[in-house]
Structure formats: C-alpha cells, structure tokens
Amino acid sequence: MAVWQYIGRSLRRRPVSRIILGAIGLVIVILLCVLEGVCFEQKKELAQVETMPIQVGISDKRGEKKEGLALSEQELSHIRDTTSLGACLTDEVLRWTGKLVWLEGYGERPKEGASVSRQYTLIGISSLKAAPELTEEEEIQIAYEGISGRTIFSSITPICLMGEQRIVELGKSPGDTVGAIFKTEDGWYETELVIGGVIGGSGAEIKEIYCGWEALQYLQLAAESRGTQTVDSLKQEGLYHYLTDRYSAVIKDNGSLMGFKAVAKRYYSAVDPLASVEERGLALTVYDSLYQSTTKELKKNIRFLDGLRPVLWVAAGGICFLAGFLAARSRRREIAVIRSLGAGKFRVFLILVLEQVMLALLGTAIGLGGYLLFGGKSLPKVWEIVLILILYLAGTVAPALRLMGDKKLAILMKKD
C-alpha cells in the first residue's frame, strides 16, 4: 500500500483526532494573525501620529502660551553678543526637520484660531558679507521694504526669502545672492543676501524679500556704531516685534521631537508670565501635547503587544511541539505494527511526517482563511508560519524517530 494511500485512509478514518490536531494549528495561526493585526494597526496609527504636524512657535506673547520655553533677557543678550538666537534656531530646525519646513502665520497675521501654512525650502547658509556703504544710488537692486519681519529664517548670514514672482523678475534662483540695500536715517547700506527660500503658493506674488533679523540686527548695530538710528521699521515698531512676531515650523520627524526640544531648551528658558513685556524675551512653544498623549498610549500598547509576542511564540511552539509529539506517541502500537509487518523505517517516517505536514498546512490554510474572512488585514510573516510548522513537525519527528527503533517493536507482545 502506497504511503499516500495510507495517509489518505488515516486522515479519513480518524477525523476527530485529526481535526483536533488541525484545529490546534488553526487556533495558533489565528492567534498569531490577530496579534500581528493588532500590532500592525497600532504601529500604523503610531506612524500616522508621528508624521502629524507639530507646530513649533516662537512668540513674544508668552503669557498666552501655557506651555513653552522662553529665552530670558539675559540669555537673549548673551546670544545677541555671541551668536544669534535665530541662527541657533534655524540650525536646529534644519537639523531636526530636514530641508522642508512649514512656516505658519506668514504674511498677514492670522485671525484668532485661524491657521495659514505655507511651504518653503531652505537652501542653506552662507557667510555674512560686509556691507560697504553704497555710493551710487543706481546700484540699488532691491530695497528692503517695510517692517513685516514676521516670517524670518535667521542665520548669522543674511538669508532672505523671496516671492517666486520676484525671483523670476530678477532672473535668480534659490542659493544665489542678491544685492540689497537698506535705508536708514543716515543713509543707505548695502549688503548681499542669499536667497534662502522661495515663498510659494499665495505668497508667490509677494515682491518683497524678507531677510533674517540678524541682518537687520547687523544693520542696527552698524547704524548704532555710527551714532544713528537703525532702519525706519525698527524705530517704529521695536526690535522684538520685528524679530519674532510669529515664527513657527513643523517638525517633520516627530521621532526627533525630544531631541529638538532638548536642544531648543539650551536657548530658551521658561516664560515668566509675570515679567514685564520687555523682560519676557522670546518664547518657543512646541505644541505637542496631543502628540505626546497619543503616542504614549500607542507606544504602551505596542510595548505590551511586543512583549506578548515572545510569550505567544513560546506557547505556540510548545503547543505545536506537544501536539505533534502526542499525535505521534499515541500511534506507538500502530507504528510498531507497520514496522513488524516489514515496512522500513523510512516508509513509516514518511507516513508520519507527511501526514502531519498535510494537517499542519491544512490547519494553517484554514486559520489564515478564517482570519482573512473575518476582516483580518495583516498576516504573520512567512518565516513565522514556517517556524510554527517546523515546531509542529519537530514534535512529530522526535517521537517518530524514537518509536521507529527495533527495540520498540516489543510493544506488540505486551498484553494489555
């Protein structure tokens, strides 16, 4: 009788025990599927949350923010002396967010509760160049106009943002420098600004260029050194407003959020709402409370599920091994009879193993099918299923090898 015929008969004529064995495989596979599915959903949700925009705002209206970090006046002056607050921030924003940064609140001040987002691409930072006095008015190419000062990418180099339309008019592209002249009370000063970014979208028609406040600060200091007032705008509206009316960015990689905050904290200290406006300095606010609370819960769930996985694996492996082991062991006498009738070890081994392989595959297929039928989305990895099958078979092979030995044939002589 061929091996396959015997297996066929065995499967047909022992339906209950075979179904139980198959069901064990089925249940395990379903459990793994469910675990995988839940884990997958949680991770997917976490991934979505991790890419949700988190606004980072700088504001001198610190009293309005419940959370945030602020720069003390002392620190601000220190930074002014050594490097620039804006440069620090820009560098960190660049480091933590990559090139793509959203600036919120650009242009006209948004109404209460409104949010306007525009996208800019930061090109890079170049070194500051001297701004020699302009001697010939004809050389003025671009005049810095107005006191918008609202959206500034700062660096120790004068970087400017420019409307697309203006760039086209000038025949420039991001990264190029443009000559700029700044008008002060005592005359005109010329400098070069690197086109750091393009104002796209609805800002494309904007003809002004917006430079970093460091450039303005430089101009201011230059003006002061001459014993004169700084640019008109500064005179009119004050430095703080000029610098940081509203500057916000979205951190692209939320996984780096904590790193960003840690770095930012070096430059900002807690806001003191009781301090006078002049003393308040600048506030950095990372609006991440929703992100933190959501991710905390999700990460907790994922940790739990990840912790559950090895437990389930050990249990699944153990059950599969045991199922195979008991199934083979319960057939001691049958194996001995077949052997005693002259079947070689290999033939008996084939009967046992192939039968278990078929059962395991059948159980796995039904388990997966059932899982998918009931709306399962994520399947276990192939290697996980293979491992389960191997454990299942190992449970069969181990006793099978042992039971096939000639010594075990003496069982046939036992009188129950």
Binding site: M1, A2, R9, S10, R13, R14, R333, E334, A336, V337, I338, R339, S340, L341, G342, A343, G344, K345, R347, D406, K407, L409, A410, L412, M413, K414, K415, D416
Partner: protein, 224 residues
Amino acid sequence: MAVLELTNVSYDYKNKYQTVHAVQSVSNTFEAGTFYAVIGKSGSGKTTLLTMLAGLDLPTSGTITYNGRDLTGLNRDDYRLRHAAVIYQQYNLLPILTVLENVCFPLELSGTPKKEAVKLAEEKLSAVGLSKEYHKRFPAMLSGGEQQRVAIARALACRADLILADEPTGNLDTENGQTVVEILLKLAHEEKCCVIVVTHDLSIAGQADVVLKMKDGRMEAEEK
C-alpha cells in the same frame, strides 16, 4: 533442513537497578511442517524468545539462523515481510484499515500488485472462515475471534514459511480458540509451514507436534 536454528541464545533486559536474564542459553532447531508449542509460566521467557524468532529484537548473545543465515546479517524488515509472520494475542490489526485492507497491507508493502493482493487476501480470509461480508468492516466491528482470524489471514497472505503466534487463543473463547488452533495445525501440516505457538493453554500443547517447556529463561525439556 531446519528453518530456524538457535545456538546458545540469551537475552538480557537491563535497567538502572538490575539485569534480568530473560532467556538463557537456549539452543534448538525448528523444522518446516511442524507445529511447536512453547509453554511455561509467566516470566519464563517464552514471549521474549518469540520476539527474537520474529526478528523484532536480537539476542544479547548467541545466534539465530534462518535457513542457515544469521538473522543479525539479514535485512530484518525483509525477513518479517516475506518469511516470518507473527500472530499476536492482541491481534495488532491496523484500526484504520478494513479487514481486507489489513490483509492486503503487507502484500502491498512487498510490492504485490493491488489486484493480485486483493485476490490473495480474499482467498486467505475465506480460508480462515471470514466471508465477504466481513471484508469491508473495520477491526473494531469484529469479535475477538474474528479479529484473530483476520490476523491469521494476514500472516497467511504473506506466504511466510514461519508462523509465530503469541498466545493466539488467549483472548478467545474455547470454540474460537479451537478454530484458530485448527487453522494453525493445517498451516503446519498442509502448507508445510513451521508454526511456533507460545501458549499457556495445555490443550493447544496437547495438539502440538513438539512441546518446548521454558522455565526461568531456559528451555527445560522437549516433548513429543
């Protein structure tokens, strides 16, 4: 020529605590066409002896030769498949196979074509008094006597020249027991098989051509 020849055959069971000398220096010859009864008390070593004769185990020392060839050097799977058929007290039929399939099984293992195997199996079942209506039944649907007859038919179907039976009537009533003995006697005397029966039953011993008595692992006496 002796079908089986035993020379100083011993068998020891060992465990952690002791060694049991189940069979000790047994020497004997078994001829074709003879019905042998091996009798003795429980633990006398008769079943162990039969286990070795059937090639289910090898002696600890000594030699067993089948038609002049040492069993140790033989392919014992082949020996059991073609030359030595065993009938057990527990019948040891395969529960998932029908009566007919049980008898066909060793034939198909030995490569007999299915049709031929079925024909031969039907003949042997008929020879042991099991009509066609039994052929499709499973062992669990048969009485002890019927199961034993299937086991005998399976042994016959192998066309083995050596039939070994361990308490073949142990689970049967007197009538069925006698039927089985008659079949075995017929095998020995008509088919010229060497039939060796291990039994407690003195009525079987009384019908045997040769009675071998085992005591404490030794073969004490041979009676005819």
